[in-house]
Symmetry: C2
Subunit: 346 residues, 2 copies
């Protein structure tokens, strides 16, 4: 079959050429080739088919020692990347067989060997592409699901502010909150992106932060009675700005921190309006999606139903061409993408 690698084929991969200085650039990565690895006993070989371009990869590219890294930095010269979706092409593993679709931490490369420890088989639905396993039915969608339902515990009538609501996580989080009877308000950058998100996902209230430099005032206008839940994908400055608008018993979920990734500790914005926490009895929690791993099957089943019933919409922006990964990644940080950005390896 076409997915069987020829023994002579090179394995392309992107390594970290240099640590980004501020916003990542395509030139921070270097294309290398090498032999296709061979699976040993208890292992299998995967051909990556879909490689998502994920802002969550950003922190690991820095080794800022003035601050605190939650993740160990990727060494210079090491292959970069995160979760991928691919197909097993050869197997010495009892559970994973050739032809199986899997998602695993297999990085920015054509082929990778896995021992299955962190791999998850994709239960393919005939009406859904395997690519959904790294989007709406993968970590972004699961983050939206558990962030809204398990961490924020959204309730009907809540006013839920989702920042980066046009993004891969935000667009799903906003829709799930709306499905649960919340009033959903969002932020996004640029008239085009706001209009697109309103039209594609049905969000009524999106504030264009590029058009409204006084974002706090804009949010206050649109949320006159305050905000119950902040589902944040932006970072410290955004949380600080929204805190004074939070209603009693409000919940803040830290999902993404795209504005803080790669910023040295000394230059980073901080959360200062913390007096609101006691006075308004607020809770701030971090979302660590893998903590909910045992509930992934239930969540995926429920979200699949919503998709098939037309209640949940997702947008994938798939480009073909492995070599486009660095450019696509850099463009994320310029806010240029509409929908979940994926590279189909070819």
């Amino acid at each position: 079959v076409s997915s069987t690698p020829s023994q002579s084929a090179d394995n392309r991969r992107f390594v970290l050429a240099k640590r980004p200085d501020g916003l990542p650039q395509a030139s921070d990565f270097r294309l290398e080739t090498g032999p296709i690895p061979k699976p040993g006993r208890g292992q299998f070989l995967v051909r990556n088919v879909y490689i998502p371009v994920d802002p969550g990869m950003r922190p690991g590219l820095s080794d800022d020692t003035t601050g605190v890294q939650a993740f160990a930095p990727v060494p210079l010269g090491a292959v970069v990347g995160y979760l991928t979706v691919g197909q097993v092409v050869r197997s010495e593993h009892p559970v994973f067989a050739p032809g199986d679709w899997v998602t695993d931490h297999l990085l920015w490369q054509d082929y990778a060997v896995s021992d299955g420890t962190r791999a998850r088989k994709i239960a393919l639905h005939p009406n859904l592409s395997p690519s959904t396993a790294c989007g709406v039915l993968g970590v972004p969608g699961l983050s939206a699901y558990f962030g809204t339902l398990a961490v924020a515990e959204v309730k009907p009538g809540d006013v839920v502010l989702v920042t980066s609501i046009a993004g891969a996580v935000g667009s799903i989080a906003g829709q799930i909150a709306a499905l649960k009877g919340c009033r959903v308000v969002g932020t996004a950058g640029g008239a085009k992106k706001c209009a697109w998100a309103k039209e594609r996902f049905g969000f009524a209230d999106i504030v264009d932060y590029k058009a409204r430099p006084d974002l706090a005032a804009a949010l206050r206008e649109i949320c006159r009675d305050g905000i119950d839940v902040l589902f944040d994908n932006v970072g410290n400055a955004m949380i600080d700005l929204v805190l004074p608008l939070m209603r009693r018993n409000g919940r803040i979920v830290i999902c993404g921190q795209v504005a803080d990734y790669g910023i040295p500790y000394r230059d980073m914005a901080g959360i200062r309006n913390t007096n609101r926490f006691a006075f308004q009895q607020l809770t701030l929690r971090g979302l660590f999606t893998p903590a909910f791993e045992d509930r992934y099957p239930t969540a995926i089943a429920e979200m699949t139903d919503w998709i098939l019933d037309g209640k949940l919409t997702y947008v994938e922006d798939i480009e073909t061409g492995f070599e486009k990964l660095p450019t696509a990644f850099a463009s994320l940080f310029r806010g240029e993408n509409l929908g979940r950005k994926l590279i189909k390896t070819g």
Copy 2:
């Protein structure tokens, strides 16, 4: 009886003379006198006997418009203060009778009229002074109780860091956590205060932050396996410093923010190490003690038992003399006090 005011007696009170510039000074307050008010129908007159000196009064003395005040500022010329403990001397109220001991928001003055809405009758225990109603059995003790048990939900085996552990709230919080089987670690300023708190409350591990400028390193040494609960009375910089030491599923309770009170927003420290929240699945919550008002009787009964059983110790530093209030308040912010500071009006 001696608590009946003579009609000619002046009612002494302290008003806000000017807004503190940085640390509060005694000269920020002005002594005034006026007539003793008369209770109308449904009201009663209280003579304040114990007036606590509380750092929580600090934020209301500022009107910093660059930041966000949780409380409305006290107007210049208005009587300052917060909760007091006193005795009813005259009553036109169906529930509160002369001789009753009450705690209420009756400010820094000899006499005040109450309508009972926010007043609480003190169930006097023969072995306990009514002054405890503004200390261990008042808001400080209740903050310690609900902060540890209801907000942080401390569990046996937790490593609990209590900042300002020699203070009115911290000393009780640390003891309650220890009673529940936690390992308690604290911070306090100065060798004398640390030794005093160890001796009086039985805390084994207190870090003297004045002697250890690298407080993070000192805490890391003493909490080699990390911290499960931070019960914070200091403020943003302390939380930021402790965040990297927090263990998975850790909880941070914002109880007091003494280092941030009165600091203009632009100069305030911020919490920046927020990447820890997701990675370590941390929760930060504000403690608003009045939210637990319906559980006060249970808490007071339980803490009274602990006190009488010798399991819970408290220290009151009572000075007699109404006129000493401003000096005592200012001294709080220089970290000079040992124990709950109270003024007995005389």
